[in-house]
């Protein structure tokens, strides 16, 4: 158990170090979400009155598509250098390797959120409260576990760019429903913030457990 934990941390550290040395993904994602905000601005005609009702939607749209890119890239380097097979041939358990890669991809997405949330506040004037940050972070856990599972799955399938969104987006909808409600309430809409957060935590637990059970079948070759 401690061994698996150490393996997961080592894999995560390796991925984060690779990202730190190349500095490819996070800057690209940051630019991507800023562009999404610019496009939203032109698509919606945003002013001070309608910003609080539109901003949550823009937040989730940008986050969902940034997430797809981030998780799609999680296994890209391994595939390009065919190093995933080498990783899997080590005695380390596939689930631990998967957990490590999922952890690293999640942290990279959190890095992208650290750009997205302040940018949203800056451009749309919505509050950057603890509640908004908490809702986004809690949703990220479950979305990342699912996203990484399917990213690992499609890594070795042709047309993976097509399949990843098709598989991931429908299963992310529970997080967008609950997270969307939480952020809307945090930005001034009526409703129950606690209820939405409780639902988010429920979905997190459900999908993290299911993903850890399924990871073995996805990576095992």
């Amino acid at each position: 158990m401690t061994n698996s934990f150490a393996v997961a941390l080592a894999v995560a550290r390796k991925d984060l170090r690779a990202e730190w040395r190349t500095r490819e993904l996070v800057p690209a994602l940051a630019q991507f979400v800023i562009l999404a905000l610019v496009i939203a601005n032109f698509g919606f005609q945003i002013d001070a009155r309608n910003a609080p009702s539109i901003a949550p939607g823009i937040l989730w749209l940008a986050l969902v598509f940034a997430g797809l890119v981030a998780f799609g890239r999680a296994f890209a380097a391994e595939r390009e250098q065919a190093s995933l097979e080498a990783l899997l041939m080590t005695p380390a358990s596939p689930v631990a390797i998967f957990a490590g890669k999922a952890l690293a991809a999640t942290l990279l997405l959190v890095g992208c959120e650290a750009v997205l949330l302040p940018a949203l506040t800056l451009f749309f004037g919505t509050p950057l409260s603890v509640q908004v940050v908490a809702a986004v972070l809690v949703a990220t856990i479950g979305m990342a576990s699912l996203g990484c599972l399917f990213a690992a799955m499609v890594a070795r399938v042709r047309a993976r760019e097509l399949l990843l969104p098709l598989l991931t987006l429908p299963l992310w909808i529970p997080f967008i429903v609950a997270g969307g409600q939480a952020v809307q309430v945090a930005m001034g809409a009526s409703g129950s913030y606690d209820q939405a957060m409780a639902l988010l935590v429920d979905f997190d637990i459900l999908f993290v457990v299911l993903t850890s059970l399924a990871a073995r079948f996805v990576l095992d070759e």
């Binding site: 399938v157 042709r158 047309a159 399949l163 598989l167 429908p170 299963l171 299911l210 399924a214 079948f217």
Partner: protein, 234 residues
Amino acid sequence: MNRYEKAAAAAVVLMLAAGAAIFLYAPTDALQGPVQRIFYLHVSAAITAYGCFAVVLVGGAIYLRNGSFVADRFARAGALVGLVFTTVTLVMGMLWAKPIWGTYWTWDARLTSTLVLWIIYAGYLLVRRLAEPGRQAARFAAVVGIFGFIDVPIVHFSVTWWQTQHPGPIIVNDALPPEMLATFFLTMACTLVLAAVMVVIRYRIETLADGAVQAVSERAPIVSAREPEAEPVN
């Protein structure tokens, strides 16, 4: 006529009987008029689709456990037939919604979750097509089928969990007159038989297709022996 054709003919006769009950036996609804007759097939198709997706779930779980291709072929058949019945449910529902609600579609919890269900299993079939045929496709599809089934209880309980426009459960609430209830159960039984026949026929098709793939791959070594310099296709 072979036994598949006989089973298909029997299913058609049963569906015609259900249609006769729907249009000739069941009374016209006092409020909604003849449009209400859509209800019988709409609800039956929805429950049948749940059943088909349960076949996908169980088939996938058995495949992951012991690698049985029989289970995998049943899962494949269940996904396709379930998708057909989800389509029937959605189309029937939209035809009912236009005169009753005044619109074909509304972003109601039940409608949205059913649409998501359709997308999930359409994705399942796409995974089957895009993944490498054989063990990889079967394993990936099994995982998708197991995760996708999470949406079935969400669809089913959406009318109680959220405030929706969609009518709630009226069968279990005993809100129907006996003639309507009898018509509903007859339609339900006939639709289930139709789905079972469709799954069995599709299973047969999948078996034949797998056999064809196997036959081609057994002949492949002869081809590669003739072309030793050929690059492995990846």
